[in-house]
Amino acid sequence: MHSDLRVSVQAHDFDLAAEAARLEATGAGAVVTFTGLVRDVAGGLRHMELEHYPGMTEKALAAIAAEAAERWPLDAVTVIHRHGRLAPGARIMMVATASRHRAAAFQAADFLMDYLKSRAPFWKREVTGQGAGWVAATDEDEAALDRWS
C-alpha cells in the first residue's frame, strides 16, 4: 500500500499534537506516537548535545521509515529527530505511525525506535557540572535489533 512518509532532522522543537493530527487526518483509525525526552539519569545534567551526520542522517531515517512501511500496512509514518543542544526534559525525537490495525501501528513504532537507536547516525553527549562525556551505546540496543530479523 502507499504510505505517506515524513522524515525531518531539525534543531528546533516539534509540535507533537500537530504531528498526531496530521496522521489522524489520514483516516487510518489507529495512530501511535512515541516521544523521546532528555532525561537526567545520574543527576546534575546541564544539557545534552546531539551531533549527527548531515546527509547520511536524512537518508538513514528515510530508509528506516520505508522499511517499516514495507513490513506493516501503514497509511503514514512520521519520524522527527532533533540535533544540537537540548535541555533536560526537552523533546529529542518522535515517531508516529498510522494504520488500520492497532498491532501494526504499535509494532512499527517499536521497530522504528529500535532502529533509530543504533542505526541513525546521532551521538549524544551529556554535559554536567563535573564535565562532559559521550553516551555509550549498549549491547541491549544492538540486541534489540535481532527481534526484527
Binding site: 551531533e51 551526520y53 547520511m56 533509530l116 537507536k117 543504533s118 541513525a120 546521532f122 553527549r125
Partner: protein, 81 residues
C-alpha cells in the same frame, strides 16, 4: 576522497573532515594508512571494534572497497532515539 569523523573519533583526531589522497583499496587499507600518519589517528582508530564506518553514507565494514567512493566516515556506535 572526503573523510569525516564524528563524536569522540572527531575529538581524538582534532577535526571533523578532510580531503585525503589515497590509493587504499578497502576501508581496512585506509585505516592502516591513516594510523601510520600521526599518533592522533592511531589513537582514534586503534580499536576498530569500537568504531563504525560509513562509505558514501551507507554503513559498511572494513572489507568494503573504496574504488569510486567519494566519502568515508568513522564514528562510534550510534546513540540516537
Amino acid at each position: 576522497m572526503r573523510v569525516l569523523y564524528f563524536a569522540w573519533v572527531r575529538e581524538r583526531i582534532g577535526e571533523g573532515s578532510e580531503e585525503v589522497e589515497t590509493a587504499a583499496a578497502t576501508v581496512r587499507d585506509l585505516v592502516a594508512e591513516l594510523r601510520a600518519r600521526e599518533a592522533r589517528y592511531d589513537l582514534a582508530l586503534s580499536d576498530m571494534g569500537a568504531v563504525r564506518v560509513a562509505v558514501d553514507q551507507e554503513l559498511a565494514d572494513l572489507d568494503a572497497p573504496l574504488a569510486g567512493v567519494r566519502e568515508v566516515a568513522f564514528f562510534p556506535p550510534m546513540t540516537g532515539g
